[in-house]
Amino acid sequence: MTAALTQILAHLLGRLPIGWLQLIHKPGRFAAAVAGVAFANLLVLMQLGFLGALTGSIALPYRALEADILIQSSDANTLQDGSPLPRARMLEALAVPGVASATTVHVGRLDWRQPNGSNVNLDVLGINPGMPSLRLPEVEAARPLLAVGSFALVDRTTRGLDPVLRARLEAGGTQRFEANGHGVTVTGTFSIGGGFGADGYLVVSDQTFLRLFRNRSPGAPNLVLLRATPGEDIAALVGRIHAALPTGDVMVRSVMEAAAADTTFQTTRRPVGIIFGFGVAIGVLVGGIIVYQVLSTDVADHIREYATFKAMGYGRGTFLSIVLEEAMILALAGVVPGALAAAALYAGISAITGLPLALEAPRLASVFVGTVLLCLLSGTVATRRLARADPAELF
């Protein structure tokens, strides 16, 4: 096995693969170094995975909105946190040419004590059942039902959803529950996907919403959803609506813009995003330090051999290429187990939390390239010790 690899490397390098031979000469140290690189890779991939899940899950509810343009209170950073805005804004927007239809959504947060006794925390979306509001076929189909009573649909991917309950709902059963003194019957499910905020989503009619949240008023929703007439330039339309509305209290943005701004906010201004970003930096640092340590120790250990090679007429380039060869081998050998471990953990965490964790090819590729670059950088720094290899000291 190693003999075959030696052959291949000799062929690739056009010289004896001294770096490789040095590494496998000390299998214990080699394994530790590879484990270190793999660990750093795993660390970075996990953090990027969480960061990706965070940004992915932020986009999910925006994608579910049946809208081109979103009006929110100007203090809103996310779909959930803005103040209510006057319903009059919807009517003003509707008067702008190019706006085909408009509807409002109330957003609130609710704790639901499930039949199995556990609590889940839900973002409640109160929609006008007379209008399409969400691009979710189950919700569309249930609109007539939502209109006639206190009915609700729950996100089946809700984190911590009672599995017995979910099975019953998916089989067509119902579940009545009481919240804030009002009884609601869950009649079915849909899927938006879990996030880092609430555990999941609950969709009800605006009437039901107002019974669940007694301090909210029908004239003050959280979101105004606008559809443009087909073929309309959304950016231009946003500008016209913006001009038509009184300044100051609301933001008018395309849904995509709003999702992007939310993502930026949550990844850079909220602790959760900052922590994951910090985790990536720590992983990079740990990986760099491990590789530097291994390579510079290796250079120090072989200083006499390198001095001998210098005496024989080998130049600086040879030593740099030996160390970079080692760096490349560590990078390649570390990436594979690191990625495999990350894939396993992704699958596990995704199954437990419902977070959209996926080991996407671009992420894997950038981590791989980053690992190689970092290893090469560490290797180059490690060769500074080579200056101490003085062939005159050999005799």
């Binding site: 056009g14 010289r15 004896l16 001294i18 031979l21 040095q22 496998i24 000469h25 072989h302 006499r304 051999e305 001998t308 090679f309 005496a311 024989m312 007429g313 080998y314 130049g315 062939p391 005159a392 050999l394 005799f395």
Partner: protein, 226 residues
């Protein structure tokens, strides 16, 4: 002799340290070694033999005087010139200085690869090792070789590239009398076959019979044979 000598040294002085600590160790050294000769360098410990060898071998910069090796002046020579010259030398150190991660064959190949990749490198390296009686040990790493075997691998590494000058500093010090003599006899045989110039530091009196010339140093000066 009409051909230029392999090594010609005149008025060579060398000192270690600077200022207060400066200590001169070579004084007005002059010597001439013709091509193809096997010259033994003798002298008490500390008399400057190793220092002289490292200067001639382009491992140390010449401070004062003239050193011409293979027709090139080393005083003020650039690093590139020194490195290029080293490739035409073979070094045998007191310690074998083999690379522990490489097999005997791979160690010997290092002496060949410095001249660039060549198709028959493994065969050439194996050939020299067989000449030295190590045909059965080609794939052994140094750890599994005896002291004498290791030194013979080092000799093979020095000789495989057909060097024009071989510098050997007490190559037999780590060996018993028997294998020490064997190694030197072999060096001499190869020197005569290939016309290699050999400069060897040794205390081994039995080896003196094999030398074409003996240079004796004392307190940094050539006392005899320069």
């Amino acid at each position: 002799m009409s051909a230029p000598p392999a090594i010609a040294v005149t008025r060579l002085n060398h000192a270690f340290g600077v200022g207060e600590a400066e200590r001169q160790v070579l004084f007005d050294v002059a010597l001439e070694i013709p091509r193809g000769a096997l010259v033994v360098l003798m002298g008490a410990s500390g008399s400057g033999k190793t220092t002289l060898l490292t200067l001639l071998g382009c491992l140390r910069e010449v401070q004062q005087g003239s050193v011409r090796v293979l027709g090139t002046e080393l005083n003020d020579a650039s690093e590139q010139v020194m490195v290029a010259l080293r490739r035409r030398f073979g070094f045998i150190f007191q310690a074998h200085n083999l690379h522990e991660s490489l097999t005997a064959l791979q160690n010997v190949r290092m002496g060949l690869d410095v001249h660039g990749p060549a198709p028959g490198a493994d065969d050439a390296a194996a050939h020299v090792l067989r000449l030295l009686g190590l045909g059965e040990r080609l794939d052994y790493k140094p750890r599994r070789l005896s002291g004498g075997q290791k030194q013979r691998v080092a000799v093979a590494r020095a000789l495989v590239g057909n060097p024009e000058v071989v510098f050997a500093d007490e190559p037999t010090a780590a060996l018993d009398k028997e294998s020490g003599f064997e190694v030197v006899a072999l060096l001499r045989r190869l020197a005569k076959q290939r016309g290699t110039t050999t400069l060897m530091v040794t205390h081994d009196t039995r080896i003196l019979d094999l030398a074409d010339r003996i240079i004796v140093m004392e307190d940094g000066r050539v006392k005899e044979g320069g």
